[in-house]
């Protein structure tokens, strides 16, 4: 048994208790701007974690740099505030060496999609059991207002006074293209929906990626209001549920059909279409996942939230353990004396 396992076995055990959200709050003052969307995410994570049944000390939050990356300081679990973009890489090493831990990454659109884009895609393709929460506010907040890789074309920021000219990433498509096994989206201003998605995230075996539309009150206020505010939300957002038709609108009067490979909005009121004609969501359908993810932020189509794609695939770090077990079973535990002496040696007396 290695020293980590031995130590944890011998360590005084924590009292068994029913956790509450309060048990996940650290003693540090939360320093995000008043009204920041990050508060809602923090509160909802703290409220959801007691439900997932993992002991407090086995949870680790890892982050990079940015407003959202302050997240670990406000959680009373283990936490690692890394360097810009590298949270997924740090989390990968931690998870490989310690598959007994529940490892979460808090990142933003700059941290995760730009400087850390490489680690992001490779973590997904490997399917490491890491939960990645991407706080997407379409702006660099901590550096005070430059455009980000998810900023929209034309967005005026400090570094794009004449408007951004590069096409943004759609994080869902990027995650799907990187062979992600769990890809979801939720909203900072819809706590109930977020909680449902976070529960699913926690349960997933493999990399679970959640994009959270998050409002930056200072540098990009209202970027997602069409999706989050009462007056506009119902007409602009479709909530995905597995095995359920895509219905939306204030009175559930609209739906999405597939015309060939093209999604189209139809009315359920004019008698031409009924609920049975609508596209039915299937989380396991790879092709559909791309079509749905592509619908984001397009004129005339509702933007999907919920679990876009979820499938089971072997988990990287467990495969490493499996290879080790196989070798040990076949060849036995390694012994230094044997290693040193195998093959050609010679003795001088």
């Amino acid at each position: 048994m290695n020293l980590v396992k031995q130590t944890l076995k011998d360590a005084p055990t924590a009292e068994e208790k029913k956790y509450t959200a309060k048990d996940f709050q650290s003693d540090q003052d939360v320093r995000w701007c008043p009204g920041c969307g990050d508060y809602a995410v923090l509160a909802m994570v703290q409220r959801t974690l007691p439900e997932i049944g993992i002991p407090h000390e086995r949870i680790v939050f890892v982050s990079g740099i940015g407003c959202s990356s302050r997240f670990p300081y406000y959680m009373s679990t283990y936490g690692f505030h890394g360097i810009h973009g590298r949270a997924a890489a740090i989390a990968s090493g931690l998870r490989i060496s310690r598959p007994d831990l529940s490892v979460w990454v808090a990142t933003g659109d700059g941290d995760g999609m730009s400087i850390g884009g490489n680690h992001f895609i490779h973590t997904l393709r490997r399917n490491m059991d890491i939960k990645i929460l991407l706080f997407n506010n379409q702006i660099y907040g901590l550096t005070k207002g430059q455009y980000s890789p998810t900023s929209v074309v034309g967005q005026v920021t400090k570094s794009t006074p004449y408007g951004a000219i590069d096409r943004p990433f759609n994080p869902l498509l990027l995650a799907l293209g990187a062979e992600g096994t769990f890809v979801a989206r939720t909203l900072d201003r819809d706590p109930k929906h977020m909680q449902g998605v976070l529960r699913r995230t926690a349960e997933h075996k493999g990399t679970a990626f959640v994009e959270i539309y998050q409002n930056c009150v200072v540098f990009n206020d209202g970027a997602f209001f069409q999706f989050t505010e009462k007056e506009t939300k119902d007409d602009n957002v479709v909530v995905l549920e597995h095995d359920k038709p895509l219905v939306f609108g204030k009175e559930k009067e609209k739906g999405v059909i597939l015309d060939g490979r093209t999604p189209k909005v139809v009315s359920l009121k004019d008698g031409k279409y009924s609920i049975d004609d609508l596209l039915v969501h299937d989380e396991k359908d790879t092709v559909l996942s791309f079509i749905l993810a592509r619908m984001s932020n397009l004129p005339g189509l509702p933007t999907p939230i919920g679990v876009v794609y979820a499938t089971a695939r072997p988990v990287y770090e467990l495969e490493i353990e499996r290879q080790i077990d196989t070798v040990v079973k076949k060849a036995g535990e390694g012994e230094l004396a044997k290693l040193f002496m195998h093959g050609e040696t010679w003795t001088i007396s």
Partner: protein, 609 residues
């Protein structure tokens, strides 16, 4: 009856196209030589291209081995024997052959096209241009073909085995036992009887050719070396480093983790460690150099013995993350197998020019421990010591290796496992009085509190931390205190390492100071100068940060100090800055190690001046 002549030492260089299998030939000759009980040192010298166009000068791949019945410290200054498979290999390597040396040439590699590609106007094997050497030229390709005539093989298979003919022939000339190579062939081609047969036959054909042909009147013998008693094996530096890490893992009870991105000339560490799953080694081929080190930092946080392996360009990419390991005070080992720089530089050639990068190449005051291996087998001990220090002091350690020692090999005295120094990490478990940056009074190490331990939940990271408590702090006095504490932690390591030892008199006219792979060349040169009665001593630094406590004292006892380095004077700068001593640099940045003669000549100059 052929005569047998005894030699004390021999240097052979095998050279051919990069597709001719010269590296394999060299490593087989090394195994056979190791089994014959000689001391040895090798130098692989190959191009950056995997298969450069055949017959070109830049496609020449070489492997040099220096072996003897006495102590061997370098891969050899000049060759006694050059085995050359084509004209280009002769052209490139002739300058490494001593006058009177032996050339064994494959005439098939000297056709018109070969001669044109290598810039020869006429065939050097004919005419008198090589009259200063003993030339033995045969059509090795044809001889190989003839030995396989009855097997109905494709010309490609036949052609690819000709290096084993040359190998067999040199085995005969230098009385090497072919057995290790025959065994290697059996293992290597255990699933292909044809290739097994081909290679064994060709090797034996080469051996028998030496014995039966009239060409060679003399066979040479090099007796076993009087090495320290014990059991030896031959290891490359990169293998030795990997085994050092495995040993540290076994000894400490920590699981070994390697996060790494392939890079020449360090990749063999990744290859070697990937094999050893029975030691529960976890290797992670990361998406880039940065992920290599960041994953190691994550693994160290989780309680692993965490390593990242790289070369100069990779070390540059890792610098921000090394700073993270400095401020989070986590134990990791970064091994830099140096190559020619800057930028991509000379990927397959050796250099020592990353020392200042390792020492200072980060933002902020960011001290790390720096150790340097002196030889291939010393890579084992340096890797082990780097691991010990990292874990004991909770600190990142940079281990410097070099292309030519990482890929070169020498005999390694297999250590008694019980005699390996103790590595005794302990993880904090008691929540009573726990603070993440409350230090050990003696070592200044902070507690290693791993996730999963109830009651020790805490947050660390790259923002400055409050002394003791570890919360984020922007307090100016606290920052200065932490900067000084991190430096002092490195300095105090000097209390826990042995004093430096001088080879030669403790005081005198000249001290030659080196670090890393210059060890063998300096040792040989200094010995020679001492034998001539000069007052010359040798100090070799394995610990560069911190320096051993008596280094200054030693320097002050000599009238002059010469520092040979594979750079423009980097250690020299460090020594001058620290001790205000007028050190002199002997620099060489030609992609190859120092020859001892170059150091001898420099010392001659100093004494004559």
């Amino acid at each position: 009856m052929k005569s047998v002549r005894n030699l004390e030492e021999v240097t052979i260089r095998f050279a051919g196209d990069s597709g001719d299998g010269m590296q394999l030939t060299g490593s087989q000759f090394t195994s056979a030589t190791a089994v014959a009980g000689n001391d040895l040192s090798t130098l692989p010298d190959y191009p950056a291209e995997i298969r450069a166009p055949a017959g070109t000068l830049f496609g020449v791949s070489g492997f040099q081995i220096h072996f003897g019945s006495r102590e061997i410290n370098t891969p050899g200054d000049m060759c006694d024997v050059l085995v050359t498979m084509n004209a280009a290999a002769l052209k490139v390597n002739l300058r490494n052959l001593r006058e009177g040396g032996i050339i064994i040439a494959n005439t098939d590699g000297f056709n018109d096209k070969n001669l044109r590609l290598s810039g020869y106007d006429s065939n050097p094997l004919e005419g008198g241009s090589l009259s200063k050497y003993q030339v033995f030229a045969f059509d090795i390709s044809a001889l190989t073909r003839r030995s396989l005539e009855d097997m109905n093989l494709s010309p490609k298979v036949v052609d690819r085995s000709k290096n084993f003919f040359a190998l067999g022939l040199t085995y005969w000339i230098f009385s090497r036992p072919p057995k290790p190579t025959l065994q290697w062939i059996k293992d290597k081609f255990k699933n292909d009887e044809t290739l097994q047969e081909v290679n064994m036959r060709v090797l034996k054909a080469g051996y028998n050719f030496g014995e039966t042909t009239e060409v060679f009147a003399v066979q040479y013998e090099v007796g076993p070396a009087k090495l320290k008693p014990g059991t030896y094996r031959s290891l490359t530096g990169n293998e030795a480093a990997a085994w050092g890490f495995i040993s540290a893992s076994v000894k400490s009870g920590l699981e070994l983790f390697l996060g790494s991105y392939p890079i020449t000339p360090a990749s063999e560490i990744l290859h070697e460690l990937s094999k050893h799953k029975s030691f529960h080694v976890k290797t992670f081929q990361a998406e880039d150099e940065i992920a290599g080190i960041c994953s190691a930092i994550g693994a160290a946080y989780g309680g692993a013995l965490a390593i990242t392996s790289t070369s100069g360009p990779g070390l540059a990419l890792k610098s921000e993350a090394i700073g993270l390991a400095v401020i989070t005070e986590l134990p990791i080992v970064i091994i830099d197998v140096q190559r020619g720089g800057p930028s991509t530089g000379l990927p397959t050639k050796t250099e020592q020019a990353d020392l200042l990068q390792a020492m200072y190449g980060r933002n902020g005051e960011s001290p790390v421990v720096v150790l340097a291996a002196t030889s291939p087998s010393d890579c084992f001990w340096t890797a082990y010591e780097a691991s010990r220090i990292a874990v004991k002091y909770m600190i990142p350690v940079v281990m410097m290796s070099e292309g030519f020692i990482g890929q070169g090999s020498d005999p390694w005295l297999i250590p008694d496992i019980d005699s390996l120094p103790e590595i005794k990490p302990s993880f904090r478990t008691d929540p009573q009085g726990f603070y993440p940056y409350l230090r050990d009074e003696k070592t200044l190490a902070r507690p290693w509190a791993i996730p999963g331990t109830p009651g020790l939940e805490h947050r660390i990271g790259g923002l400055e931390k409050a002394n003791i408590y570890g919360n984020v702090s922007h307090d100016p006095e606290n920052h200065e205190l932490m900067v000084k504490l991190r430096q002092e932690k490195v300095d105090r390591i000097a209390d826990g390492i042995p004093l430096a030892e001088v080879d030669g008199d403790p005081e005198g006219d000249l001290l030659v100071v080196g670090w890393g792979g210059t060890y063998g060349a300096i040792r040989t040169a200094v010995e020679r100068q001492r034998n001539e009665g000069r007052s010359v001593s040798h100090l070799h630094l394995r610990y560069i940060n911190p320096l051993q406590k008596n280094v200054g004292e030693i320097l002050y006892r000599f009238k002059r100090i010469l520092v040979p380095e594979g750079n423009l004077g980097q250690l020299c700068k460090i020594l001058r800055a620290r001790f205000l001593v007028p050190t002199m640099t002997l620099s060489k940045v030609q992609g190859g190690p120092f020859r001892s003669i170059e150091i001898v000549e420099e010392i001659d100059k100093l004494f004559k001046a």
